[in-house]
Each structure stands twice: as structure tokens, then as C-alpha cells.
Subunit: 302 residues, 2 copies
């Protein structure tokens, strides 16, 4: 990992002495992906994909209506009515979250109109685990009884018949709220940019995750005020627009495919990270945390 | 957490219904720190403190000679001889690490002289746990049998008489290496800027951690090349200098104190995050990950 690219190419084909799973030749993530069948990939659904357009480029977000149907419906309304155009990233707190939307949203004299969006929604912190295709991983987790993936999202549940919720990992998109659990409407959104703040799990409504363009968000200069706010509007990052992908002409969409988290390829990638057997790693961890599991994305030709 | 500062001030003094530990009134981290005795704080030792001077400001690093004595000794030589002055941050990989030092270090024709520093060191991935004041935390961890803190550093061990090593959390400073375990000399250093890459634990030599100024590193634009390298030197962030604090006049030092990780105040802070009982959190997690435990730092008047 600290290697220069030229050296990195020299991946070891044979297993190291004493390595776990020496019976199967070790394959790197890239080797596993290169050999994957196309059926292990899914194309992003444009009716639940947002494009957040910043001066530096486009951030692609996948929404999670199966966990937060009311919030996602409101978000689709906001996007359709161009609510976020001309708003900003008005908060970036190091090792935690950045937040965007209407910086004046809490000032009735200055707040933007919410258009036809709903002004009150129920909290959608969790849902029933029943009916979800929850793919458990075997790894220990301190925050939840069971962790795994649902439709490409890192998730947790307290049992197959209990509650399930989306986990806060790097790139998670949530709906900012005040103290009341039902005080979010999806107008003010935050993205995790640091160590996974899993303490927020089942404490706030998660609405999706960033699938491409995190580097445009994570390098945002941190805000000088407490909690990373920028009181000076000039320090905020302008949001040019947020659009639903299906509302753009096909030629203007970003053609992405995501590795299906219910695929063998995905399980193989996780295992390749759980027990690394290459020239660099001397001691396979035998473990991976939910938020360290890679979620591969690739660009396709339309 | 998503609140505006004005609202954040309204912390709830009384416990929520059904909250954990309702018998003791909940105190926020700030309330705990405000009430802490001065003996629970320690002043950074200038003989093991580095100042990394960037155009945007100073990053303060605490070294860990108790875990990597040979590497730290070499680093002191490099700092004393001004090895890093005029070098750069030449790699920033999103959600992983940034790396700095001599971008041409692997090109014998262009590499800077290493001065009197040693050109070979033993790997210092771990040490004996014996003799360490290891303060275990009770929380589950997937990567190691026991986790906790040693002298202010997040650490792990496989038992009181076994091996101990420093953990890769946000802000961890390590010595970049090539494939050979003994290929690092402390000239090329990396800092974790994303989700804790604990798979590196006991696989590379950790030499310290950033105690102030992480926001100057974490917002560095990500490198366009694979693994976040910047082939174009103009994209690299210049390093003005790296100095040992004790080699600067006292008036030019940054006067910092760190909360002692063997103090009751530290245990109380961790518990305040493990079981949050305030207006915002509706469901205390009852857990905290090693890399989520706050490591409070305060500025003193010299």
C-alpha cells in the first residue's frame, strides 16, 4: 500500500508460507474483478440516482428508498424542483461529516421555499428486517448483533425478524435533523467523510450513499467555526445543481455499474481483504470491519 | 451533531427515559473536560514532538519511541539535519493515507542525501506487551484480542505477556516501506486520513500520531494517479520544514496538553461517547470502537 505503482504491479501469485487458505491461490481484488461475470454487476437505477454537481465535478449518489421511502420521495421532489441549485456545502467537520443544503434554512426570513416537498416526515431510522435480502458477513462488530449488506448498502440488524438499518460508513448520506427524531425532511443532507460514526446508526435517517466522487467532498477545506460551519458564505462550496439521473438525457448520465453485494465475486473480494496474502502483507488480519469492505464501482460505455 | 451551534448548546441535563446509567447525571465531553483536574493532563514532550510546517500551517506530531525506538531515532536525525525541508506530500489516496517525504527517494539519480541517518532499520511492527501501561477498553474489536491505550496512543495486544502494537486510526503516522518488512527507515511517512485501515496493524512500523492540525492534511486534494500519487510536481503540497519542537526556541513552540489516557477523566469521556444520553441521541450505542474514542488536546499558555 505504501508502494509506488510500479512496484505494486508485482503481486505475488503463490501463497506465503503459513498463510490462511493456502489451498486456493490468492487473487487480488483486481484479479477477482477482472474475472467476474457481468451478471455480478448491476447498473445504477437512474430513478434513484442523484448527481450533485460541484464546481470541481460530479458526485454520484445512490438513494435507498427501501430504508427511507418517505425521505427519498421528498428528496426526489426537491431534486425535480431544483431546490438545491445555488445552495452550498455549508459545514465540513474534520473526521466526521460535511453537510449541504440551504445555509439559511433555519432563518424563516431567508430560507428558500421548499416548493411542494413535505414539511414533516416520520423518522426512518430503521425498518423491519423482514423482506430484506440481508447478506450477513461473519466478522465481529461492536455496534450491532449482525452486519452485512443489503442491495449494495452496508447495513445492520438485530436479527432476521427484528429491526434493520443502514450503517454509517465512509460516504453514507443521511438527513440532517434537529433534536426531534422527526425533524428531518431531506432538505439538509450530510455525508460521512471520516472514521465511521456508527454511533449515529439507528439514530438518524440514512437516505443513501455516495458511489462516485467522494474525493470531491472529502477534500473540502474544513470549516473554521465549531462543528465545521462556515459563517463566511465565501468559504462555502457552491452547489451548482442536484439532479435525478433519470431527468437528464441519457447522454448526460454517468454510466456506472456496481458490484452486486449478493454475488460470489463480492464475497471473494471481501475475503481477499480479510486475508491478504501478497508480497506486502506479512500477517493476514483474518477479519474485516463492515466499513472496510470495498464496494467496487466501474464505468461502462452507456 | 447535525445541529447548528446555537442549538447544540442546549444539552439535556436530565437523563432520557430508559437511558443507560440513568443513576448518574449524564455529562457531555465538554462538561467532563471542564471539570477535569490539571493532573489528568500531560504536556507534550518537546523531545518527541515534530512540527510539520505546511504553507497552510503547522501540524503537530507526537512520536512513539516506546514502540519504534530505531525509527524514531532515525526520524530525529532527519529532523535535526533538515532532511524534509523542501520535500512534499507526494501522495494522497482518498479514504486511506497521504504520504510525504522525498518524492524522488526511489530514484538514485535524484534522491536527496539521507545525511547521517541509518539506511537500514529492523522492522518495528510490534513489541513485547510486557512493561507497557496498557489501559484496556472493554469494547469488542474484530482485529485484535485486546485494544486500549498506551501513553495516549490507540494500541492493541494479543495478551498481557504477548505482542503489542499501535493501531491504525485516523491521524496515525507510519513509516512507508516496500515489500520487505525491514525496508522502512522513517524518511517516507504516511498519515491515515480515512476509515481506520486496521489491516495494516502489525504489518508496518507505526511511529507516532498527529495530535493537532489533521484538518491541514485531510483536506489535501486527492492525487490523480493510482494510489493517489501526483506525478505532476505542481500538484504536490510543499513541506516547508519538519522540526523537532525541542530544537525551536520555547516561544516558537505550540503549547499543547493532552488528556492522559490513564486518567479517570479519559475513561469518563469514553463512557460519555459509548452511552450518549442527550437531546440528540435516541439510542445509546453501548459501545465505542477503539478509533472512535476521542483523544482531547488543549492549548495552554506556554
Amino acid at each position: 500500500m505504501i508502494l509506488r505503482p510500479a512496484l505494486l504491479a508485482c503481486l505475488l501469485a503463490s501463497a506465503l508460507p503459513g498463510a490462511v487458505r493456502a489451498a486456493t491461490p490468492y487473487r487480488s481484488q483486481q484479479q477477482i474483478l477482472d474475472a467476474s461475470p457481468s451478471s455480478d454487476w448491476r447498473t445504477l437505477d437512474p430513478t434513484r440516482t442523484l448527481y450533485l454537481q460541484l464546481p470541481a465535478g460530479r458526485v454520484v449518489i445512490e438513494l435507498a428508498p427501501q430504508f427511507a421511502p418517505e425521505h427519498v420521495a421528498n428528496i426526489l421532489t426537491f431534486a425535480h424542483e431544483h431546490f438545491w441549485d445555488g445552495t452550498s456545502i455549508y459545514r465540513t467537520q474534520d473526521n466526521f461529516v460535511l453537510q449541504f443544503g440551504d445555509a439559511d434554512g433555519e432563518d424563516p426570513a431567508k430560507a428558500k421555499s421548499l416548493g411542494t416537498a413535505k414539511t414533516h416526515l416520520p423518522a426512518e431510522f430503521h425498518r423491519s428486517a423482514s423482506g430484506l435480502d440481508f447478506k450477513k458477513i461473519p466478522d465481529r462488530d461492536g455496534w450491532a448483533r449482525e452486519v452485512g449488506f443489503v442491495d449494495g448498502f452496508p447495513a445492520a440488524r438485530d436479527g432476521a425478524d427484528g429491526k434493520a438499518w443502514l450503517a454509517h460508513c465512509y460516504g453514507t448520506l443521511g438527513a440532517g435533523r434537529n433534536n426531534a427524531d422527526d425533524s428531518s425532511i431531506g432538505a439538509e443532507l450530510y455525508v460521512t467523510i471520516g472514521q465511521s460514526p456508527r454511533q449515529l446508526d439507528d439514530n438518524i435517517t440514512v437516505v443513501g450513499r455516495v458511489v462516485k466522487g467522494m474525493e470531491l467532498l472529502s477534500a473540502t477545506p474544513r470549516g473554521p467555526e465549531p462543528m465545521g460551519f462556515y459563517e463566511d458564505p465565501k468559504l462555502r462550496t457552491p452547489i451548482i445543481s442536484i439532479r435525478l439521473a433519470s431527468e437528464l438525457p441519457a447522454a448526460e448520465r454517468t454510466p456506472l455499474q456496481l458490484l452486486r453485494t449478493d454475488s460470489q465475486t463480492f464475497r471473494d473480494v471481501a475475503e481477499s481483504k480479510r486475508n491478504r496474502v501478497d508480497d506486502f502483507y506479512k500477517r493476514p488480519a483474518g477479519h474485516i470491519d463492515l466499513c472496510n469492505v470495498p464496494l467496487p464501482v466501474r464505468t461502462t460505455q452507456g
